[in-house]
Amino acid sequence: MIGWRCQYFTLAWFLGKLPIMSTTIGNLNASVTAPTPDISVQLKNLRMANPVMTASGTCGYADEYANFADLSKLGAFVTKSISRQPRPGNESYRVVETRAGMLNAIGLANIGLERFLAEKVPILEKMGVPVIVNVPGWSMDDYADVAEQLDQQVPVVAGIELNVSCPNVKSGLSFGTDPMRLAELVAHVRRRVTRCTLIVKLSPNVTDIAVTARAAVEAGADCLSLVNTFTAMAVDIEKNRPVLANGTGGLSGPAIKPIAVYMVHRVYSTVAKTHNIPLIGMGGIQTWQDAAEFILAGASAVAVGTALFIDPSIPQQIAEGLRGYLLRKGKSSIREIVGTLAMG
């Protein structure tokens, strides 16, 4: 563990330079008499030391960010989508920046399960944080086979996140947007996943996200993560073509945050609270204030996605910021504020 940390000497320097971190730590030191608020989170069987995880597809497979952030400070690490077979993904262009956001259509490019197990799992085992593997699929068995293998053979994997909503692959869209098919899929995977926390990542590209949320929960999901990206398009007006080779892409970043907060609140108040199902909120989170919005709206944990491209250390900044917020609010645990948003 010491060897692992020592590689990241640049990080120590960076943390010292970071105004937010040093201020927060300073405040904590100043108030040594107050108990440090508990920010740990339990998502069914998955215990996180803090509520901040990475969002799938924005943090690679394992240690790509090791030079830029202390990955052992993450609440959980969520991998890029891992499919049964390797996938080359879409043609270029795959990303385009839009106002306060980003549009992507990577096409679930990934190294496949076999190489993931051989090359990436050993690195993840050393990271010291719970790992959640994002699993995409084009048939029910695509999902179930990968999920079962991870559940039974890879102890470091503590959660399976079903990518039922990636809007970039035509056949993938229907699972996440059709409540009947979604329920069927979740029940199918549920029968074969016994150890890991089964997370269903909801698509926002529906009329009422509470409908798909209820379908997933009643079919056996342990936890819901929301939201995935919004299907969107950018146009090259000189070439009269979409900018992305795929035509459409998924919109992420601050542009979607208010919609994502609303959807978390919608799912929390209509489904999750009554079924006692924890939510992972995501969509444009960049600061601890953003994260606090999601938590008050009903999320037990949050994920940082696109913002990692700008600064991979944002999750640990958010975790410290949330601790300071709880201290200031006189709360002893983050669980005290989940879904406490006062309406009306």
């Binding site: 640049t10 320097w13 690679g60 890029k80 990303v95």
Partner: protein, 345 residues
Amino acid sequence: MPISPIQQTDAVRGHFFGTVTTNELLCREHYRLTVEVRDFPRSHPGQFAQILCVPDAQTAAVPADVKSLDSPVPPLTELSWQPAQPPPHFHDRFFAGAAAYLRRPFSIADRRDRVATATTAHVCELDFIYRVIGKGTRGLASMRPGQRLSLLGPLGRGFDVSPEIGPAILVGGGVGIPPMIYLAKVLHEKKIAAMALAGAQRRDLLPLKISPGNGPPAPVPTPSQAVDEFARYGFPSMISTDDGSLGFKGYVTGMLENILTAFSTDQRKRAVIFCCGPTPMMRATAAVAAKFAVRCQVSLEQPMACGMGTCQSCIIKYQPPGQKQWVHKLTCTDGPVFRAEDILW
């Protein structure tokens, strides 16, 4: 025949905050930004940094010790837009629609190191030369001396400069010229003979300092010492412009063909072409290199979100000779420098 991308073993990189010392107009739409960064790791020509093109709010206000804001940065009157004002708060830097959201990649144009002493830290002065084309570079052009800037680096794999090269032929086009300046310095340090070919659309879009007294760039492709950035190391250079407004009228590849035609078989065997520029220009250079059987390294550019190998957006098709099937490689971490013959153009 090794089939892996160019290897470099020292992969120390990180997130650094630097202080802008100068940000000056070099020619139409082109600026040179100089940033002082403490303890910046070792780097190679061809490597790049991902720059947040919005000043850090800690120093977004005018620092008291900067006497004149106007003198170091030339007026932007040549450009049709006005520079964006830096947002007032740290968190706002992510939100302003007028500002760049993601980082932008820039190749290192030069570095100068002041080694640590008993009382001072190691400080590295990094140069970045950029052309203002969008909101990222517009934001960068608005930065003033004293402001703090966040950068990730050094990223990627740079040019492979092995000592048995001779001569090195540097081929830079437009905004592909900056890494050639840094490369020239390293070649000089390694005592490798080199010559530089630089091309631009027009005379006023060439971000290089021309001293005609040293033998002006000639309309016929003749090497001279006219370009300061290369002459300072004793390297001859040639200039081409698409419209003939400076130097040779035509493309850099035209000059390159002339040079390689004059080379002996032995010279072609030892020569290495280092190339950076727009993709069509690099594709043409690769073709010339193949025609004369001269080794060629190219520094590619692709739209890039992260620069750290996670977003998977900066893909290129990679197929070394002898390999049956192409694979995607990432420009950011597998490149940006590749052997020209390995790229499926």
